[in-house]
Symmetry: C2
Amino acid sequence: MAKGKPKNAFYAQSGGVTAVINASACGVLETARKYPKKIGKVYAGRNGIIGALTEDLIDTSKESVAAIKALRHTPSGAFGSCRYKLKSLEQNKREYDRLIEVFKAHDIGYFFYNGGGDSADTCLKVSQLSETLGYPIQAIHVPKTVDNDLPITDNCPGFGSVAKYIAVSTREASFDVASMAKTSTKVFILEVMGRHAGWIAAAGGLASTQDTEIPIVILFPEVSFDKAKFLATVDANVKKYGYCTVVVSEGVKSPDGKFLADQGLKDAFGHAQLGGVAPVVASIIKEGLGLKYHWGVADYLQRAARHIASKSDVDQAYAMGKAAVELAVKGKNSVMPTVERVSSKPYKWKVGVAPLNKVANVEKMMPKDFITDDGFGITAKCRTYLEPLIQGEDYPPYKNGMPQYVRLKNVAAKKKLGEFKL
Amino acid sequence: MAKGKPKNAFYAQSGGVTAVINASACGVLETARKYPKKIGKVYAGRNGIIGALTEDLIDTSKESVAAIKALRHTPSGAFGSCRYKLKSLEQNKREYDRLIEVFKAHDIGYFFYNGGGDSADTCLKVSQLSETLGYPIQAIHVPKTVDNDLPITDNCPGFGSVAKYIAVSTREASFDVASMAKTSTKVFILEVMGRHAGWIAAAGGLASTQDTEIPIVILFPEVSFDKAKFLATVDANVKKYGYCTVVVSEGVKSPDGKFLADQGLKDAFGHAQLGGVAPVVASIIKEGLGLKYHWGVADYLQRAARHIASKSDVDQAYAMGKAAVELAVKGKNSVMPTVERVSSKPYKWKVGVAPLNKVANVEKMMPKDFITDDGFGITAKCRTYLEPLIQGEDYPPYKNGMPQYVRLKNVAAKKKLGEFKL
């Protein structure tokens, strides 16, 4: 692939989007434009792999240099994302045949897929098309996930910015509740993402530092919820500091293994209500301690908060996109660029590379020694790991008080094939 | 008061805190230090008026110039706030006698109270102590409230920064849901503050502009919730744009006059659950349209978010504190400095002044012509009013990726009196 006539490339975004996935897109597109002898057009899939299957390809050559550059400071997925996992070749050969048909029709020789663990699996399957179905393609995965649960890479682009948002918000809300505690709210509860791993919840612990101590109780999905111990800890904090902040992962579970959020809430008409875990924890505090509380649920706000993105994270997201193209140009297939930590203090990192079959479908959990013995906090080791990831600010440009996020033209490439039913 | 030996001053923060109430404190303290011939020490009440009643006074002369300066970029109430309303003189003369006792003991001749409508009432009562109980004092109210519901002043310090946070967050989350909508979430619901007035919800409308159109449905407390019309509007947006964002005020009410949030939720054990309105709206959408949704509750995050404060708001908060001291030095009593709008485009404003008896206990609602006829959006007139208030960014300093918010020493002045039971 690296020699001869240039081949076109396919790029797509997959799974939950982040504040910096477009920075990776920016890295891919800007770098691809530097190798015109090897890479022709970059077609972006509209809504991830679905764009490839339905031949809904966006011709990124129609976008201006300025628009592509602005992707670096624009949150969300500029080409649309999807939650769609390719089945195995045995289960659905029709989809693979279709991919090859579309790739052939548009002379696509490079496949860049920007996503998390599930998407790495899709990318791995595509990378095997040369072997399995005799179609030559180089598939490179670009890591992305707020959950920080990909293996091998030190951390995942997307996570650092969520971590910064949660750390900053936790500090700010804690200052607020501390001001109110004398006659009003004494406990603030913030619900954060992370259904399986507690990385994002752990970031709440960064709100408290040596020069700004804050009593924070973290509820990790890795630690079974112990109601009595939790209430005793909150109570002790309120007695000592006058207030307490609770950061609770959406994935925290009761001893019976069920999500704490799943308390079978019903409204006045008996309809089931899908609540968050924050109000559940609030009720537990109200009932157990009788303290006045407030609760918040960050939800999409946390992963879309480009306005307070981590500079480390933006830089790494861009670097992963850039590295993916450089690996492709070097003839690599079935790999994923990674972040390799060189040192924590001062923070230094470089780009590494991992084989995709070691990445796909592997989930990296929080190490046990990142959580304090009482199960409610982060250790010094965890702090050393996390702190570099939220370093630096990378503010978007503003106009009339609002961040200027780009919307691409997203011009569709002309279809050459018949319709395909998903 | 303006002549002769300098008198000491009392300053306190009251009610819900904001991202910029400390900027007003900064304005008061820095300005007071410029008039040593007229103002001696500034004592801050620990936890608002309670600090005055219990003689828990903070000696702000013990704080460094740098610490006072840092208040300008620090959210929350540095001296602690309170929710405590003085009763009328007839109902509780004991409290007024105590205030005079404390003021006399500490030679206090100026009273600066930083709060909203209820606090203006407290300040008004104190301003009348000269007449009612023969104690000479000048009481000046410093406006503060995220609810933006004080009369006469064009807007209230605290509101602009919440408005900016909500506008920015709504834009970011809308970009997110737009990316996910093809195969996943189609509606995002954001719950915001504002139990009586829809000012904060209105700010969600600023997320959509001519160059960045976003389908947003706003549920105002001023507009009775019409379920069928709401569902039809969300449905039409999803059909047209692929997704829809809903910004819902915590104070939105059903046609029967009850809060929509108060749906009598019960958990599996039959305990009442205090939920937010966002999950209620989510359930209505799920049941009525069967669409996948996400919801967030900003809660304290919105009013504590100093990291994305509006520069207009910070400047005005500081100016109100400064003006309060200048009014005091000029011998004024029972007044409140105000923001007077000179023009919207370009935005120009100046400091005005209002008599306290026209401010206390008056609530400014959204004008009817600020809400579109369908009840779900903001008019051009509303936009012209709101846009200047979110103008400009005023970032705090960062260290290791975290905003550096100051914590004062808050050294207590020596008590001279006996205990007082609240």
